[in-house]
């Protein structure tokens, strides 16, 4: 199907089904239960998981296949967001022009940065990309304030030009009149499921992005990228120039990041400089490694895990903890609340750090390796060609 063999088709169908059922998967607990705190099926989080999934899929094309570790992908995310918001301001609140420009602009940026950075490999490449990202951040933050509005962030105003929009066009990002924030709620058996237009737009694009990455992984081009990772010298000796391949991979993954940035702005029409900070670039590295670098589905899982932790764990404050532990005697209660408060609320980074360490130490292949091991334990043979195998 669609140029895929039977197994990949099955894999793609599973991914599509999983993506479409996200509103159910992420909302496992009923509203009234004490566990509803852990429900993540609200539009903003679902959108973020899909968008950062796209970001991580793109990053994985570079890092997972060629092994080039870039810390600068946040710059492309930011470029994408700024481009999209400018399109909203100048052309139309329809998200299509914004997303198209976001991909094009980030592609151009990736070409420029990649052309310079890819002259080096290994740690030098990483440092160069980091330097470029920091440069872009500072440009956006203070030098280019007329374009980026600095720390305040670029926003849309009712007084914007919006050349293509008629008088009755929606004031918020939309797809041919369907505003992104429209949600349909379904209450059943005490559960509340939210189906959000913005999420399904992101999900559709994420599936397309995933399909494209699947094709790249299976293509001769993907094989060349793997060759770059396994031994670049040997590749050069056989008369192949690795540079065009790595540059192409860099630009493709930059465009994925731009697409993610454009989508972020489409879901919430605001672009801030902090989106370009190196920590965001580091986050996507963590997502990819946590899920399993070089696997197809891993980065998406990693993105989901991190966004879930960030949004759910950071909301558990001491009041909620007191509610959990109030059955204990007071001294014990305070101790447990103190202990758990280090790992929730502001301390969610600590939980993430622990999780990351455990994964890197015990499951070097990321969450996908964990899934593989479980599958083997339960007696189902794993094919060598299974999509979850690392690229090496």
């Amino acid at each position: 199907m669609l140029g895929l063999n039977k197994k990949d088709s099955k894999f793609l169908i599973i991914v599509i089904l999983l993506t479409l059922s996200t509103p159910f998967v992420m909302q496992p607990f009923s509203e009234a239960s004490a566990l509803s705190q852990f429900n993540g099926g609200y539009p903003d989080l679902m959108q973020r998981v899909a968008i950062f999934g796209i970001f991580a899929i793109g990053f994985n094309i570079l890092f997972g296949l060629t092994g080039y570790l870039s810390f600068g992908h946040a710059a492309f995310l930011g470029v994408g967001s700024y481009s999209a918001v400018w399109m909203f301001k100048l052309l139309s609140m329809n998200i299509i022009p914004g997303i198209v420009l976001a991909v094009i602009m980030s592609g151009i940026f990736a070409l420029l940065i990649g052309y310079v950075s890819l002259r080096r490999s290994g740690i030098y490449f990483s440092i160069l990309t980091l330097a470029f990202a920091q440069m872009s951040y500072n440009l956006a933050y203070s030098v280019l304030t007329p374009i980026t509005n600095g720390e305040t962030g670029l926003q849309v105003r009712p007084s914007d030009v919006r050349l293509l929009d008629g008088a009755n066009a929606p004031d918020y990002p939309n797809l041919f009149g369907w505003t992104m924030s429209t949600s349909y709620k379904w209450e059943v058996w005490g559960h509340l499921f939210t189906f959000n237009v913005g999420f399904y737009v992101c999900a559709f694009i994420a599936i397309c992005a995933f399909y494209l990455s699947l094709r790249i992984f299976r293509s001769p081009f993907g094989l060349m990228l793997r060759a770059v990772k396994s031994n670049q010298n040997r590749m050069s000796y056989t008369g192949l120039n690795p540079r065009p391949y790595t540059l192409a991979a860099f630009v493709i993954s930059g465009m994925y990041a731009g697409l993610a940035g454009g989508l972020l702005a489409s879901m919430d029409p605001l672009a801030g400089a902090e989106r370009m900070q190196w920590t965001v670039g580091g986050e996507v590295v963590v997502m990819t490694i946590l899920g399993g670098a070089g696997t197809l589905l891993g980065p998406v899982l990693g993105a989901g895990a991190i966004k879930y932790l960030e949004n759910i764990f950071s909301k558990i404050n001491e009041n909620i903890l007191h509610g959990w532990f109030d059955f204990l005697p007071e001294g014990m209660e305070n101790f447990f609340v103190w202990l758990f408060a280090r790992f929730t609320g502001d301390g969610w980074h600590l939980t993430l750090g622990l999780l990351f360490m455990m994964v890197v130490i015990f499951l070097p292949g990321g969450l996908m390796e964990g899934a593989d091991r479980i599958r083997k334990r339960f007696g189902r043979k794993s094919d060598d060609n299974s999509p979850s195998n690392p690229a090496e």
Binding site: Y42, D44, T145, W186, D268, E274
Partner: protein, 447 residues
């Protein structure tokens, strides 16, 4: 494609599922309520979105304490605080409209992106019907825009930029705190009286909407008094070491340094300026002076000795002797053991004002609440007579000019009130050039 081989049983099953799926939309409710997050089940959820990390974390922490206190008072707990002195008697201590008040909190990290994500999850996941907070104007403006879009009320906390109720004003957003223009209008006459009308000022300005508008206001107000502005240098909000910004001041020929900084920024820049010996210098035959236009007790405490004798303005101070202030300081002090800051005061007032507007409007619908707040005149909340102006949703009230105390008696007694500038002196037309360019738009109830 041999992937799908239909069998009779499979087809029947599939048909049943498809039928159920087609029938499903009849269960869907596309926001059946008249407005976003209408309270149900006897409780109403408010969202308090403050910085718990970053340069404004101190202010955020104090805001959170005041929110908790306000919620306690609204639900009938504690001693009632300023509910007893508030000129409107709509609040009865039984929650809001009989609904028990609950709240959720979030960390803005003083970043627009993070603040919006946090506010979004409060609205979408926790069902908050009002969002309050913000300790940075950039964040407040970003969240105000989001609330307008989502159809909930935004009660701005600590935001001092002219733009919040100027060119970025929104129909669903309301601000109790004063702004850069008011600070400048109150401060300029006092500065002229103290330092003379022939001064050369050098500005260090936080590089975002608040810094820009505050600097613009101070520059305009002081230049009207005869001062000249030597230079204005923008500093990134995340800066912690200001020595490279302070060093050039020495050779610039300026004899006044205006620090358009707040929170941790101001503590660091003032400390750097004092360490460079600026305050001991004589320039142009005059004593070198430093001015901090927006002051708070938390900052004065953080900067310690360095604030002595330095002028600034503030929205409210705990040493005020009116009934409202005394009641608030008493109940805050009883609960937490120290007096509240101006940030705590403004968010406490905002929570009460929101609750009161709901009671008077008889609904949580943002449009009804907005109508009840527009043009609302009140007193007894510590600032004398106050009015929520309908044109831009800005509160107009007296402004305090304060000075770092020379001989503090305790660690909280660090500021003294020099002058209470009457409201008439700091008032401006809604279409004043510094505020023009925006429009409130229509109130948005969401559904």
């Amino acid at each position: 494609m041999s992937l799908i081989k239909p069998t009779r049983r499979g087809l029947l099953k599939g048909g049943a599922f498809a039928g159920a799926a087609l029938a499903a939309p009849t269960f869907f409710t596309s926001q059946a309520n008249a407005y976003t997050n209408a309270p149900s089940g006897g409780s109403v959820t408010l969202g308090f979105n403050v910085p718990q990390t970053g340069p404004y974390a101190d202010e955020g922490g104090d805001e959170l304490r005041a929110y908790e206190l306000a919620v306690e008072h609204l639900n009938g707990g504690g001693d009632g605080g300023m509910m007893n002195t508030f000129s409107s008697n709509a609040l009865k201590g039984n929650g809001i409209l009989g609904n028990k008040v609950e709240y959720v909190t979030g960390d803005t990290q003083t970043k627009s992106d993070a603040a919006r994500a946090s506010a979004k999850s409060m609205i979408e996941k926790d069902g908050a019907v009002m969002i309050s907070g913000g300790s940075s104007s950039g964040v407040a403006i970003a969240v105000q825009g989001l609330c307008q879009e989502a159809g909930v009320i935004f009660m701005a906390g600590l935001t001092h930029s002219n733009d919040t109720t100027g060119k970025d004003k929104k129909a669903n957003g309301f601000r109790h705190f004063f702004n850069g223009y008011m600070s400048a209008a109150a401060l300029a006459p006092v500065l002229e009286k103290m330092y003379g009308s022939d001064r050369r000022a050098y500005h260090l300005t936080a590089d975002y909407t608040w810094g820009w508008t505050q600097q613009e206001s101070i520059q305009a107000a002081t230049e009207a008094k005869g001062w000249t502005t030597v230079n204005n240098v923008l500093t990134p909000l995340a800066t912690t070491d200001f020595s490279s910004y302070v060093a050039p001041v020495l050779n610039s020929g300026a004899d006044i340094l205006v620090l358009n900084h707040y929170g941790g920024n101001m503590i660091n820049s003032l400390t750097a300026a004092v360490q460079f010996g600026l305050r001991d210098k004589m320039v142009n035959g005059k004593q070198f002076e430093i001015v901090v236009p927006l002051y708070s007790r938390l900052m004065a405490k953080g900067a310690g000795e360095n604030v002595k004798g330095i002028f600034g303005s503030t929205n409210w101070h705990w040493s005020l002797q009116d009934e409202g202030s005394k009641a608030f300081v008493k109940s805050f002090g009883t609960k937490y053991g120290f007096p509240p800051s101006q940030a705590a005061h403004t968010v406490y007032c905002q929570t009460l004002l929101y609750a009161d507007a709901c009671e008077r409007a008889g609904t949580h619908n943002p449009c009804g609440v907005g109508e009840a707040l527009e043009g609302f005149k009140f007193s007894g909340l510590g600032n004398g007579d106050v009015e929520y102006r309908a044109d831009d949703h800005q509160c107009f009230k007296d402004v305090l000019v304060v000075k770092g105390k020379e001989n503090p008696t305790s660690e909280f007694d660090v500021l003294e009130v020099v002058e209470v500038t009457p409201r008439a002196q700091v008032e401006y037309a809604p279409d004043h050039p510094m505020f023009a360019g925006g429009e409130l738009g229509k109130c948005n109830p969401g559904a």
